[in-house]
């Protein structure tokens, strides 16, 4: 059963259409990533879903409620992290958590949340003195403190260093285990690939495709893989043998290095050939297309 459905969603600002007929179904308990270039309508769409903005046209249902008409009921069920959301400069981390906890009927422990987001040592620091990453983590804490059933996270890990990013991902995976439905707006393909059950690719206010990360990669890159290794033997003399293998598409030689691309079981074909012929392939590496490649492909089509 979908936790969130949207039909024919539209929004314009000053005559410029930002969201142009979006349909979405997000299942209960899934992590759903929203991807796309800047200005593709991602933030506006999730802000309409979370009730921050009012839609011009279309229907939205979040857990059976309309964000515009049942705002009060939904406010207890939806946790929101907005892009660049701020707090009063002199409000301390601890005070912010206590204040937001007090809004909800059954909040999670603020101390635990601060601990998991590595804010415990900064709990007495005023908002203005926090680093970008600390502000970001505090915003995540405030989104989750009300024990939401739907969490809308806009640019979850922007401004976080790689370590903090990984840790935040762990927190979001924990949400999935609790059955929370998560909408994740992100610029980081790695993040969507790691966390998302499904994703939607936005372009010019429309959804281009909805798929699983692996599905999108396959769909956009035909499952292209690249194998690279260094031969002790002369690569040029064996190039044609590799070209003849099943699933191989291109073979290139750069000095002693050989770069083979292909699809399907190309890795198996190449490694089996190496084993069979007794070639000495060193430093063999496989590069599989990532979501980055897939989305770049999408961008170049427009």
């Amino acid at each position: 059963m979908p936790a969130i459905t949207a039909r024919g969603l539209r929004k314009s600002y000053a005559g410029r259409t930002v969201v142009d007929g979006i349909d979405l179904d997000i299942n209960e308990g899934e992590i759903f990533a929203v991807l796309g270039h800047n200005g593709a309508g991602k933030t506006t769409t999730v802000e309409m879903i979370s009730g921050v903005r009012h839609r011009d046209a279309g229907e939205i249902s979040v857990l059976g409620f309309d964000p515009d008409r049942d705002a009060e009921k939904l406010s207890h069920l939806v946790g929101v992290q907005l892009q660049d959301s701020q707090l009063p400069d002199k409000m301390r981390v601890r005070e912010a958590i206590e204040l937001y906890s007090s809004f909800y009927r059954d909040p999670v422990s603020g101390d635990d949340l601060l601990e998991r987001l590595h804010l415990t040592e900064h709990r007495n620091r005023p908002f203005a003195k926090l680093s970008g990453g600390q502000k970001q983590r505090l915003a995540i804490a405030l989104a989750l403190v009300g024990r939401p059933r739907v969490a809308v996270l806009d640019e979850l890990t922007t401004g976080l260093d790689p370590k903090a990013r990984r840790e935040t991902w762990g927190l979001i995976e924990g949400l999935r285990d609790d059955g929370v439905t998560v909408i994740l707006v992100t610029h980081f393909m790695e993040e969507a690939e790691f966390l998302a059950d499904r994703l939607a690719l936005f372009e010019n206010g429309k959804i281009v495709t909805v798929d699983t990360p692996a599905g999108l990669i396959n769909q956009r890159t035909d499952g292209r893989q690249e194998i690279k290794f260094r031969l002790d033997e002369d690569p040029k003399s064996v190039m044609d043998d590799f070209r003849a293998l099943a699933d191989v598409r291109t073979v290139q030689v750069q000095g002693q290095n050989m770069i083979i691309t292909g699809t399907g079981d190309v890795i198996l074909a190449v490694t089996a050939h190496i084993a069979r012929t007794g070639l000495t392939a060193r430093d063999l590496r496989v590069h599989q297309a990532t979501l980055d490649d897939a989305v770049l492909t999408a961008g170049s089509q427009s």
């Binding site: 009730g51 705002a71 005070e95 206590e98 007090s102 909800y104």
Partner: protein, 244 residues
Amino acid sequence: MIKTLVKTETKLLLREPILLLWTTGLPIVAFTVLALVPGTSRPTDSLGGLSYAQVYLGVIALIALALLTTMSLPAVLGSYRERGILKRLSVTPMRPWRLLATQIGINLAVVLSTVAVMLIVATITFDDGFPGNPLGWLVTYLLAAGSLLGLAALVAALAPSSKIANAITSILFFPLMFFAGLWIPLPTMPGWLRTISEFTPLGAASQALAESIDGHFPAVRPLLVLLAYAVVFIGLAVRTFRWQ
């Protein structure tokens, strides 16, 4: 919810020492000086046997009110709006009127404490003890504070930014204080000007306070004027206040 909100917003206000110094320290110090300096604390013939301290007690009490309402409430709510704090709060179970009520309540507490301190100073230094009718003071001042805080909340509700809110309230400060008799004492105003003054918030407050200082409970009309302003301003502020 409201308890934590009040606690948090109070702490935030207390962390603005310069604002508090201007809006509470300045009126208290100004009045204390008047009450202690011989020239202004003794009865003066030109004031009909009253001292400057006695005459200016009511005016300074109203300046304290006008300073706080023009400097604090619209600026705070305006900055919350500009910085997306209201937008973030809009998707929590907190309702806008709670934030407004909290801000009005905290500012009311601050201004009442300021006047309480001034009245303590007056009671100690004046020969006759407490200046006038305590109940008259309380009722008049509560109503005056309600109407001015309501006006400030309405400005905060309507102004799109804290800069514009500040500009509006700073401009409002002068006519408000003019009609309170800051520059021309009420008794010396021409009749028509006095009539206008009686129907402005601080003019009515000034008139009612003067009667309270004289020692009796004020007339009903200025109190009704203040009550009407308080109800209309606060009502409009709550109705028009939007998160965005």
